[in-house]
């Protein structure tokens, strides 16, 4: 069994006096396409920087493929990292940048890079490329190393929808060929929900929600019904979020069985809806199954 692509244990990172990440414990499954979601300043970039060996943890630990990412350069060869904004040397030509990557990475596959860079003249200077082309170049450099873990920090920011779709196609194709694990950080869920099979939601430096997307969508339901005091509901294990307007009450709940009460309309929940619900700072306590819950009036 090869070690998981990323394991964090009580990971914390502090900048001067602010904690960007705190008590973060996480295991990413091999071969997953992971969406790292959360609002701005949630700690997503910090987590990816720690995974890429750019930063050192203030407390706790992080291991990539079983190794410390700040250890030997051999670990770096397994990680394909594209930082926010895809920083590259603007005065270099595309061909120079490829050559740079080719010479500094022991395991380099020029073909992957070429495939990603069709329709781009290799003599163009990086500074003259469009945002979409630069993103593709950065991705080509990351995938050309044949990494086992790909880390992308907000790759779709500043890309128009067409360029974004193209980047996603190329990324998925690359992942299919390499069998790599991917972590994509994005604060726009719709950019990534098409492809993620695993989600990690960060907010204010903590993990709010984490798991396999299919299982999460399967275990959560949106219940709509007439407004009333809440007792326990058969089939509902925990209410994540409660909303009411006028005479209607909407619950986002974790279910552990079918909802048989006919007064509830049960609908599946979209990933975006789910993430928004878990991002809220307060979450409601679980209604107890046996005792009667004190009446809650929403006045």
């Amino acid at each position: 069994m090869s070690p998981p692509p990323l394991v964090a244990h009580g990971l914390g990172k502090r900048f001067r006096r602010e904690w960007a990440l705190r008590e973060l414990t996480l295991t990413i499954p091999t071969g997953a396409v992971v969406g790292l979601a959360g609002p701005n300043a949630a700690g997503k970039s910090t987590l990816l920087s720690l995974a890429a060996g750019m930063l050192a943890p203030s407390e706790g630990s992080i291991a990539v493929l079983g190794h410390d990412p700040r250890g030997t350069p051999e670990v770096l060869a397994e990680i394909g990292y594209v930082a926010q904004g895809a920083p590259l040397y603007r005065s270099f030509r595309v061909s120079d940048t490829i050559e740079y990557a080719r010479r500094t990475n022991s395991r380099w596959d020029g073909e992957i890079a070429v495939e990603l860079l069709t329709h781009i003249d290799s003599r163009t200077k990086v500074g003259a490329l469009s945002a979409g082309e630069r993103a593709r170049l950065a991705l080509a450099l990351a995938l050309g190393k044949r990494p086992r873990l790909v880390l992308l920090d907000e790759p779709f920011a500043s890309l128009d929808p067409l360029a974004g779709r193209e980047l996603l196609q190329l990324l998925m194709d690359g992942v299919a060929e390499l069998g790599a694990t991917v972590i994509v950080a994005s604060h726009v869920v719709s950019d990534i929900q098409r492809v993620c099979d695993h989600i990690v939601l960060l907010s204010s430096g903590c993990v709010r929600l984490e798991g396999n997307v299919e299982q999460l969508l399967e275990s959560h339901r949106l219940l709509t019904g007439p407004r009333r005091p809440l007792g326990s509901i058969r089939g509902v294990r925990e209410v994540v979020r409660e909303r009411h307007s006028g005479r209607q009450l909407t619950l986002l709940a974790i279910t552990d069985g079918p909802i048989v009460d006919p007064s509830w309309t049960v609908d599946p929940v979209s990933l975006e809806e789910l993430l928004l619900a878990y991002m809220a700072p307060e979450r409601l306590p679980t209604p107890q199954a046996t005792e009667r819950v004190p009446l809650r009036w929403h006045g």
């Binding site: 196609q169 299919a176 079918p258 006919p262």
Partner: protein, 130 residues
């Protein structure tokens, strides 16, 4: 060769949509025994979806005996969906059409019919489980 499309808003899982589209194509006759399905990479590059999803859809189809994966060469249709299977349920289908006619006559609109069907189905499932 079949071309897949994805409806991300439908609420149906991606892999299920792929499975359904293959089955629909088989029923319509646009796919026949021996035809090759697009490779995982082709689907992924076209639709920008997770390769695991496509792999899962193809595995499901293989388990149902509809396709067979040939090592190094691709995934091929192994058998068609016999129209006979649809005939099996011809009676049920006719009953359903009769019931629907009654529902229209009773003045139910599409939404109400769907709600009624959903709720009844759910209750029925619950009773089967209990």
């Amino acid at each position: 060769m079949i071309e897949f499309h994805l409806d991300p808003q439908s609420g149906v899982a991606t892999y299920l949509q792929i499975v359904r589209q293959v089955k629909d194509a088989l029923r319509l006759g646009t796919l026949d025994v021996g035809d090759q399905l697009p490779t995982v990479r082709e689907v992924v590059a076209d639709l920008a979806v997770n390769p695991n999803t496509v792999a899962k859809a193809y595995r499901d189809l293989e388990r149902e005996g509809l396709v067979v994966a040939r090592q190094g060469r691709g995934t091929f249709i192994a058998s068609t969906l016999a129209p006979a299977s649809l005939q099996h349920h011809a009676e049920l289908r006719q009953e359903l059409e009769r019931w629907l006619a009654s529902a229209w006559r009773a003045g139910l609109d599409e939404e109400s019919i769907r709600a009624l069907v959903s709720t009844t189905l759910r209750e029925s499932l619950a009773r089967r489980v209990a």
